[in-house]
């Protein structure tokens, strides 16, 4: 083990910090600090900066416009970005469908899609879950029937984050109903402007519109938009899911939360006038979570060193989301009363009035509430326990 950063890594860290100092506006990082969602257009602006610098596709191979960074550089970059409160870029193109396209797509598909994903000009969304197919994803029913050079798609997707702002959707569809579920699925790329697609909002527990239902009625999708082979979609889908779960552990984001909660606990006063951070019970809880997160972080570093020796992505997903949810809970405890006001405009960053209570309280309860979804999405933690029991323990 050698946890000293190499000289060149130190230099790289300095370079990242410099970039952040020069490009990340206070306005943007402040929004992230209070936990408010930055507007879509602002996010895209930030993506442009990164894209210009060539720092957009951290994990992609250089031949497709990736950074070509070492594992350590990726780690440093993600950490610095999180600690500086840089906005988190939409994962659907960069982390999800992009790697599927350059790994399993053909040359035309790479040409057509990768540059738009990198530049942020094309926004993607994910058409996986269906009303009847959540945990049991492979039972999906949205049907694609081949007619000449097209598939005709009919069915419905649900929980589609930001479908209302997306240009394209990557979709799992059923192309064979006669075989084992997993063997009849195809992976399609569909232009959201295609006639027959209807997007209906789902308002979520935080009162905001992130999620959607997407309906497909006789939607014509050229066969050339198919990834890989017909009926082999489940292979590509699983490849993507494992990537998703590892990302969901969200170590850098949780580190940022810890910093934020500590700041907040220095400001918040207890009934007796002392600072919250001096309350042993609070400190104990914070410390336990911090240690757990430390274990998770070191574990990520261990995987960088030797992926084979690391634990399953399911373990990372469970522990990562547990940490996230405990931090959200602790933030609510810390802000106490002031976690309760629901200030939608402040939350959306569309108001200039100062919020009721401290500004760091604004998004706390919404983050807690919506954050309960972390143990559901990307495969619920119950499903992850099934995966560990089966794949890791052989039960």
């Amino acid at each position: 083990m050698d946890i000293e950063l190499a000289k060149e890594d130190e230099a790289f860290r300095a370079e990242v910090r410099k970039f952040i100092a020069e490009n990340l506006t206070r306005e943007l990082s402040d929004k992230i600090t209070v936990g408010a969602s930055a507007e879509r257009s602002v996010l895209r602006g930030w993506q442009k900066f990164l894209h210009k610098r060539g720092w957009i596709a951290v994990n992609w191979p250089t031949e497709y416009g990736g950074t070509g960074w070492t594992a350590m550089q990726k780690f440093i970059f993600n950490e610095e970005m999180a600690l500086a409160n840089a906005p988190r870029l939409s994962p659907f193109g960069l982390s999800m469908v992009g790697p599927v396209i350059y790994t399993f797509g053909n040359e035309d598909q790479k040409k057509q899609h990768l540059s738009g994903i990198l530049s942020g000009d094309t926004a993607w969304c994910q058409g996986y879950s269906e009303p009847g197919s959540g945990s049991d994803l492979a039972s999906l029913k949205t049907k694609a029937v081949r007619v000449g050079d097209d598939y005709i798609v009919n069915g419905q997707k649900i929980w589609t984050s930001y479908a209302h702002e997306a240009d394209w959707i990557f979709c799992l569809v059923r192309t064979d109903e006669t075989v084992k579920q997993q063997a009849g699925i195809t992976f399609l790329l569909i232009d959201m402007k295609t006639p027959g697609i209807e997007v209906k909002p789902i308002i979520s527990i935080d009162g905001l519109h992130h999620l959607n239902e997407v309906f497909f009625t006789d939607v014509k999708v050229p066969v050339t938009n198919r990834i890989g082979e017909e009926n082999k979609g489940w292979t590509y889908a699983k490849f993507l899911l494992v990537n998703e779960r590892t990302g969901i552990a969200g170590v850098p984001e949780s580190k940022r939360s810890i910093v934020r909660i500590k700041e907040l606990a220095r400001k918040e006063r207890l009934g007796d006038g002392g600072a919250l951070v001096d309350d042993p019970a609070f400190r104990h809880k914070l410390s336990e979570i911090e240690i757990k997160l430390m274990g998770l972080e070191f574990t990520n570093l261990r995987i960088l060193a030797d992926a084979a020796a690391g634990p399953s992505s399911s373990t990372l997903k469970i522990v990562g989301t547990e940490v996230q949810q405990s931090l959200a809970e602790l933030a609510v405890e810390a802000v106490a009363f002031y976690a309760q006001p629901f200030q939608k405009e402040q939350l959306l960053g569309t108001s200039n009035e100062s919020p009721v209570g401290p500004d760091y309280g604004v998004a706390t309860a919404s983050a807690y509430n919506f954050g309960r979804a972390a143990s559901i999405y990307g495969g619920s933690n119950e499903i992850q326990r099934n995966v560990i029991a089966k794949a890791v323990l052989g039960l």
Binding site: S135, I205, F337, Q340, F342, V356, N369
Partner: protein, 361 residues
């Protein structure tokens, strides 16, 4: 000794429960929540007819003259149906203040109006629990200055009862000069909370007020919030069980998976013993005064924790649907969330309990 509800109490609770089930289904709750209507006309009329607003008002003043246990089991039903109507401020805390501290004239004026449901009373005592930077109310020559936050039953209040820094209680008219009043939208859209800012505002003191009376109002309020969580939690369990019995994955209802079964069983095992705790706390308010404050703290903090567990677990069982406005489960989730924080979060309440037990300074 008889540790249980009387026949009358059962009838009362069932009656209120049935009424709310019929008259306050999710669509009505949603309608009220979306329009910020915390005293929806039809619903409130029915509540009045049942005599609920006067549950604690002495019979001499037109109320039912019942006890805190009765109020708690009603509040349980309010939580169960996330009823968007005033109760904790108007029907519980205000009658305590008026009955114990009010002059004869004040009683004569307000108690019958409360009992009949003609008057909504907003109650501002939050600063007596924990003062925040710039909040708190000071009385000077009978005029109030300062700020009262998290005033309960704020909306459409006909009068406010506000505690000042010295534990005096004051009646304040909503249109008093110098008073500015703001809605405080919280995550829970089924109950009204507001903020009052006083700039030398004329107020009418309740002559008998003192620190014990304010404490009693807070104790009672806490027990009601615990009862609210009990009811809301019970409903969340039932909803989880129903959903688990209907939702199919992997070709079976998810309720047939042991993981889901056990989540439901754990919720049941956690919540069921809380019922007796809330009952006893309510009972102690009337009959075991020495235990009342401590039991109020215990009920509040324990129900906060169990409520949070149930809220989370039921949501987990509902999967993605639990997070949608569509299913509306979040009304219960958030109601339990606000119950937790109003009149002192569990951390604060536990500290008070430790003091009451002589464990902390």
């Amino acid at each position: 000794m008889e540790f249980g509800l009387s026949e009358d109490q059962r009838l009362l609770q069932d009656g209120v429960g049935r009424f709310l089930e019929e008259q306050s289904p999710l669509e009505k709750v949603r309608e009220a929540a979306d329009s910020n209507d915390f005293v929806p006309r039809g619903l409130w009329d029915g509540i009045r007819e049942l005599g609920v607003p006067g549950i604690l008002v002495p019979e001499d003043f037109g109320g039912m003259g019942l006890g805190f246990l009765d109020a708690a089991i009603i509040n349980e039903m309010m939580g169960r149906h996330v009823a968007p109507v005033p109760f904790v401020g108007t029907s519980v805390m205000a009658p305590i203040a008026l009955t114990l501290a009010g002059s004869e004239a004040q009683k004569q004026n307000w108690l019958p109006q409360i009992a009949s449901g003609d008057a909504i009373v907003g109650v501002g005592v939050t600063e007596r629990i924990g003062v925040r930077e710039n909040a708190g109310v000071i009385a000077n020559n009978g005029k109030l200055t300062g700020k009262a936050l998290f005033v309960i039953d704020w909306s459409k209040a006909d009068v406010y009862i506000v505690a000042d820094r010295d534990n005096c209680l004051h009646l304040v008219a909503p249109d008093a000069a110098g008073l500015s009043s703001h809605v405080l939208n919280t995550i829970d859209k089924t109950r009204s909370v507001g903020e009052l800012v006083f700039d030398n505002v004329e107020a009418e003191p309740l002559p008998g007020a003192n620190v014990n009376i304010v404490a009693r109002m807070i104790d009672a309020g806490r027990i009601m919030l615990a009862a609210d969580t009990l009811g809301a939690g019970q409903m969340m369990i039932e909803k989880a069980v129903i959903y688990a019995g209907e939702r199919k994955q992997f070709g079976r209802v998810i309720g047939s998976f042991q993981a889901v079964k056990h989540l439901c069983a754990e919720m049941t095992a956690a919540l069921e013993p809380c019922r007796s705790l809330v009952w006893y706390a309510g009972h102690a308010m009337d009959e075991v005064p020495d235990d009342a404050s401590l039991m109020a703290c215990h009920a509040k903090s324990h129900l906060s924790e169990v409520g949070r567990f149930v809220a989370r677990t039921s949501t987990e069982v509902h999967g993605g649907m639990g997070f949608t406005d569509l299913l509306g489960l979040h009304y219960w989730f958030k109601r339990i969330g606000l119950d937790r924080q109003l009149l002192g979060g569990p951390e604060q309440v536990r500290l008070e309990a430790a003091r009451l037990q002589g464990w902390a300074a």
